[in-house]
């Protein structure tokens, strides 16, 4: 059961990455739009992350940083979390979990998200 769901999630991930590589969220209407931006006119912390992902997959790091700098940093962080939680990283590298997914890192993460949210709309 665990391996089956692992395979399914893995396939979905590859399919999603292919979609983000092949199509540009900027011009294609297929991709979901941010409801927060539509309603308020302000960007949420995640706005631009699909475009940033597209740019990253095309090795355009500068473009990705402009579209959503937070996501550029967050994507490796997400993969680290997936490794720790689902690929046995917790047992092999417990010190990584303590540093990056400990109590204080969670609080710092929340502060960074809110700071990015406010600053990107002010600047």
């Amino acid at each position: 059961m665990k391996t089956i769901s692992g395979v399914v999630v893995g396939l979905l991930l590859v399919a999603a990455l292919f979609l983000f590589y092949r199509f540009d969220p900027e011009t294609q209407p297929l991709f979901p739009k941010c409801p927060f931006l539509l309603v308020t006119g302000y960007q949420c912390p995640g706005c631009g992350s699909q475009r940033a992902l597209h740019s990253l997959l095309h090795a355009d790091i500068v473009g990705a940083l402009k579209q959503n700098a937070f996501m550029v940093v967050a994507i490796p962080y997400i993969f680290l979390g997936i490794y720790l939680q689902y690929l046995g990283g917790r047992r092999r590298n417990p010190e990584l979990e303590r540093i990056f997914y400990g109590r204080w890192s969670a609080i710092i993460l929340l502060v960074v998200i809110f700071a990015y949210w406010v600053l990107r709309n002010l600047l």
């Binding site: 297929l30 979901p32 941010c34 912390p45 995640g46 962080y77 997400i78 969670a106 609080i107």
Partner: protein, 184 residues
Amino acid sequence: MNRYFYIDTEGKQKGTFSPEELLQEHVKRDTLVWTQGMEQWRRADEVEELKFLFNNSSGFNRTAYPDQAGPYPPQTAQYAADSYRPMPRTWLVESILVTILPFILCSSFLSLLGIIGIVYAAQVESFYNRGDYAAAAESSRSAGKWTKIAMWIAIGWLLLIVIAIILFIIFVGSLAGLEELITT
């Protein structure tokens, strides 16, 4: 006496061993073990029959029952269960993931649920370190609840997006047919 499989540090399954043999295998508290009749793999220190493996570090059994290899008297097992309780699952990694991942799906409202999860998850360790086991377990339950709620809504949202994309493709396809209808 049951015979156990366990998962070693490399992630390989090994077995079978009797509880006494597990002692030789240097099984740790958080090593996952399985034996017939168990629904899933569990931490070794959660299995009643294996609890004695971890009492030695306290020195209690060594001194009290130096030569005894068999099952310990019930009051000893009780003592071990009270003195060591593993930290409840913190849910920190999962709750952080369900906070960040929705940003990519343009469903940042889900991140609010994830943040509730993070707040509870961060409390688990504080309460546990303070020795308040009941409060830690309660926070762990809440963290798990909010994380799971966020996760299931995210899965539902993902399905909606996939359905929307399929419908859109069918819609565009039908438009192409319409054009043909007009021109001919």
